[in-house]
Amino acid sequence: MMKEEKFIGAIKFGILSPDLIRKMSATAIVTSEVYDENGLPVEGGVMDPRLGVIEPGQRCATCGNTLARCPGHFGHLELARPVIHIGFVKHIYDLLRATCRKCGHLKIPKDEIDKYLNLYERLKDKWPQLARSLSEFVKRKAIKNMECPHCHAKQYKIRLEKPTTFIEEGPLGRLWPNKIFNWLDQIPSDHLRLLGYDPNFSHPKWMIIRVLPVPPICVRPSILLETGIRSEDDLTHKLVDIVRTNEKLRESIASGAPEVIVEDLWELLQYHITTYIDNEVPGVPPARRRSGMPLRTLAQRLKGKEGRFRGNLSGKRVDFSARTVISPDPYISINEVGVPIEIAKTVTVPVRVTPWNIDEIRKYVLNGPNKYPGANYVIDPTGRRIDLRFIRDLKAVAESLKPGYVVERHLIDGDIVLFNRQPSLHRMSIMGHIVRVLPGRTFRLHLAVCPPYNADFDGDEMNLHVPQNIEARAEAKTLLLVQEHILSPRYGGPIIGGIQDYISGAYLLSSKVTLLTQDQVSDLLASINYDGEIPEPAVLSPKRVWTGKQIISLLLPENFNFSKEAKISSGVLKCTDEECFWDSYLVVKKGKLLLGVLDKAAIGAQQPESMLHFLVREYGNAFGKEFMDRAFKLFLRFIEMRGFTMALTDIMIPEQAYEEIKEVVEEAKKEIEELIKMYREGKLESMPGRTLEETLEIKILDVLSKARDKAGERAVKYLDPFNNVFIMAKTGARGSALNITQMTAMLGQQSVRGQRISRGYRGRTLPHFKRGDIGPEARGFVASSFVKGLSPIEMFFHAAGGREGLVDTAVRTSQSGYMQRRLINSLIDLVVEYDGTVRSAYGELVQFRYGEDGVDPKNTSFGKAVNVERIIEKHVGWKK
């Protein structure tokens, strides 16, 4: 049979009318009894079986379906007296004040109503916002009128006593819901329309509840506790309260009880229905469970972070996912992720049994859910799930396997999974990784993929998702795999690459002074499972030794040409000569690393137009991955062989150096004194566009920053320029020249908002200084170094400056997070079509050509679609 296809054209919201509620009801609720003495639900009670199936296997008394297919059915409760719907109190209040107490007409003259209605009808479709403000205006105008322009009845003030009591300060007095119903019922349809109501779908009289819909049982299921006691849902509790109060109310009306008692019960019914709808209404004591916990009623189910909208509809949780702490593993591939056995045994992959894999899968089933590698579930062709946890005889299940069965087996080496670290700001925040099941309880991650995830190992956690079908796995493998993301679309360059020790190691191995014996070469090459030829040693006598460059060259493609200034090419090592004595110009010809050292500019992450970039660009992602896996392992092995550490002595300077630094500081101070003197005497000339004070500050800052640099130079002079700290700073592995200056020489000026620190006390930063002192020390100049230690006052200034950094990061992350959300929400449906245009989901043209030039920045070098120089170098570089 053909299934009929239906489309939703539009959705119209309105208020349920009593008729509609009765029409959609499966049964009327007539008794407050819930279960009889046998524990069976009572017909006509709030757990009436006609409201839907609750137990598996049963058939629904209303629709005849079983549990899985029965959608549940509403019932209804006829209220003995109407009550006010708490969600509409404001509407009711406005309508009562805007309409006549006698004739129900809008308290605006007839001609005006016609005029406004005409305008309203014209605005409604095109400018709904304007139509809304017109309604609001009309309403305000009508409320002001204290005499009906239609029947000339005098109007009285109406008071709303929160939450649901309306009182007319006139003859009517207390407006009980039945009176309000009659009032609202009188309002002419046209007048309602003008006020923005659609009388056919949301007539305000329906805001008074006369019939209460009773939701199906499946939205308020009871749970069977372990003790065998049935525990009902909060909504059911509340419904029972309502039905019981309603019963009592009906009885007392029927028995002709005094009006006071009836009104008391009426108020009670109002209270129960109010809290049933919203249990957090101001002024209403929330209904509580026996334990004192407030009930979670209708509004509470929807509201807030864990409500239906934010918690269930926008925030989805998924199966087949895992989360744990990450730790580094330089021995796995950049494409891999180390998965703890415990996780591998929990998240599974469904595999269809075929004649070709049946033997393998039998082994998994035989191992069961507890022994790795095993399986957790077997699904037979009828769709029945067999939970292997409860199977005694695994052998029988394994025997029964036939092609067509599906087995949910444990994660094994070679499976592809998605790996993610929040915040997921760019597409490289979720990448495909190949599983390596490893002992331990953490996810293991190659260090080169830290930059795209922005991950470190100070306790970061990451998520892992297992794709459950072939299409998803194929997509993950071809599109999401780590190697496909080495080059970032953000800028033309590799976002995955060497960091920290990889760079130090590469530098040390490629350095001129590195000569390796046969043993060392074997050790290095064994670490990467190299099985090719070993070249002739560079030095034959007195000992056969190889250079590090020779070893690195083994990993480069044979026709690779490249030359570029190294990162270390700065200061005294600055050089652009291909045959630089300092090795600060990198030259690769025909796949041989001839000159220069490898450093951040050559193999670092986020370095466009580097050696690594062109290797990946010209030899492909697979080669790039292979190169990184092998070269980086090699660099680490070498740095392990050589040893690499940082000691206090690396940044200690002799007493004599401190004298020199002191001189520098004294000089600067004198200079500043001079400046201040000139300023006080009015001799200082202001800079263009600056006040005199600003000029002074700028000049002082300038002198102090020069002093710090000078002190740094003086101190560094006494240090070995090839010690490990310098190696890290110069190669770009970690730290900077400024860090070294601050450790050895002085911290220099501390600042808040780019200015010297000036606030705290009246006219001074701390009580240790005289008011009006604007000398260096009084305004946050720190002359000590980290090695020497800071004085308490210096320490205070340093903390003041440091705090700004912390506040900045905190503010920036929240701001950029919100900006990101808005950007993504506006760009999310844009698509680059096959014709190169960028279009919205509605087919609107956004760009006539993607990026106006139709170029994917991922395949550019630093934004340039074609890099002519590189093409020439690539082909003829070796001739140069």
Binding site: D835, T837, R839, Y842, G843, E844, L845, V846, F848, R849, G851, E852, D853, G854, V855
Partner: protein, 82 residues
Amino acid sequence: MSGKKKIRIMDHELVPKHEVVPKEEAIKILKELGVTPQQLPLLRASDPVAREIGAKPGDVVRIIRNSPTAGKIVIYRFVIAG
């Protein structure tokens, strides 16, 4: 000479070249792009440039402007009332 001197906005260097596309050509262009006129970026008839070049609602306007990535780029806008 009166005190009023009309400034021709089209002469300003930041205003890219605008021109009304002839009907037949416009139809061809829309067909090539595979869009309905409403799916083009819009240009109000009250836009100063649209007034200057006399573009009427229903016209397609060609704009040739400089692009940081492509040098020069041609785009089309559909003129609407307002």
